[in-house]
Amino acid sequence: MLLKIAWRNIWRSRTRSLVVIGSVVIGIWALLFLLGFFRGQIDNYISNIIENQTSHIQIHDSIFKSDFEVRLFMPDAGVIENELVKNDAVKAVAKRLLINGMLSSAATAQGVMLKGVDIEQEQSVTRLMDKIIEGEGFQADKRNQILISRRTADKLKVNLRSKVVMTFQNVHGDITTAAFRIAGIYKTSNRVNDELYVYAAIADIRRLTEIPEAGAHEIALLVNNFEQTDQFATSLKAKYPQWKVETYKEISPDLELFNSQIRVNMIIMTVIFMLALIFGIINTMLMAVLERMKELGMLMAVGMNKARVFIMVVLETIFIALIGAPIGMLLGIGTTKYLNKIGINLSNWSRALEEFGMSEIVRPVVNSETIWTITTAVVITAVLASIYPALKAIKLKPVEALRKI
């Protein structure tokens, strides 16, 4: 009966209840969208970093990354590579040589990091070929081809098929110079990386640096199950104790910071939204209680005890939240899913986004974490919002309440 009374009470002031329910719907809708948008941005950022920079796991000589010395290669990289390729947990592997050097054109010179790559491996790990915006990429029958970014090309004032000269050390510490023909120009969403990296075939670099056949500076790999990255990395660390095995989180600790920072922001935002909703709901419920003083007085006069009156008001409040919440949730999930499909184009801000390594298309994401956060928040909100009006209701004295017109 209490449930029935509470439910019907909501529909006594249909407009008023609908307005509050509407505010709950819009609040949750907007919140879900915003959280989804942020989540999408983080995911975008992380996946960009993983795709372009860190992969899931990388293996190096333990001190290679402090100085990028050519001689610090892993002689058994070929063996490790073969073992990884056979491992079911591994999706793709790329073996690389990394050479610091100076890239010069007729106009100017620039410090770069030359990555000696197997183009097919690279395609499966970093989808390098997809990022080429001019040219065909490496031709099988030609030597000394290089891929540079649009930015580097502009800076060096060179074009596709121009010649550039790369100066670097070989494995013996001798300065070596080689001329490369630009076989392609690429572009990623990360400005800093674009200015830094140029790519050439691993065979050319091996020959020029005189690094033996099986050797490589870097092995990058993608795992099949992203969630098990840490676990898999641990097993690799045990297997190859002589080398440094790092996950993307270890390579790029800012990812974790960024992630937790955004998570805190999401919680703050949820709290702000819910606070706004709480006051809206309290306001309405207080109105509902105050205009029903006489009725509440009567209920208490005929023997409804305070606990029941309290529960009735709480139920009314919770009903309002519970009607609004699923609608808002569905709208929010729907909107997010739809926008995830079509993507939100932020190309107007693409320059700024590139500075942060984000691509201009954001795909909002709702995950179960977001949904749980919001569900919990709504329940807490509804309960908190109901307490004050319910307390107000049970503080009424029946005689005084009955006297009110």
Binding site: N305, K306, L402
Partner: protein, 231 residues
Amino acid sequence: MTDKKVVVSVKDVHKTYTETKVPVKALRGVTLEIKQGEFTAIVGPSGSGKTTLLNIIGGLDRPTSGEILVDGTDLSQLSDNKLIDFRKTHIGFVFQSYNLIPVLTAKENVEFVMLLQNVAQQKRDQRTKELMEAVGLGDRMHNRPSELSGGQQQRVAVARALAPKPAFVLADEPTANLDSASTANLLDIMSRLNQQEGMTFVFSTHDQRVIDRARRVITIEDGKVLSDIRK
């Protein structure tokens, strides 16, 4: 009448309202007894203290001093929550402005107090039907209060008051908002219930038509019993 059970016993009750700037002495020593089966009107000009007396008898308000026994229970000994439970089982209320629960049907309104008492469904249905028929609204069970006339609503209120089989029914100016036909009808019903079922009724009223039908008239003035006439 002397052999009947005493339902309400009021002994030297004083009530002073101190919330106001000047304390108001609403009751100054009222003593009276109401016995089972009486049909009593408490009358008096406004401000005489009759509503205060009714509230105190009904356990809605507490006296400043004095003793109230209802069905042998000293109301001053009960905590607020116990008092609510006591009202639920011992006292039926009929209010001036009906005060039905607007979101419930007539039947549900009558059923409500029994529900609070956890009376079984079957018993509730039977009692509700009996009472609705007794007040002549057997065909209006499923109407909401807003679909009933004032007289009909007040009859539902009477049925509700009787539902828990209280020791007595307190009615605060029950006819004040009714036209004469509804008033006559309501009084017929109440006196029939009084005579046939021996239900005790206590009214406060201004209404001469109610006073005429009452078998006992207690007049209150300035917070004291001025006269107590049994017809």
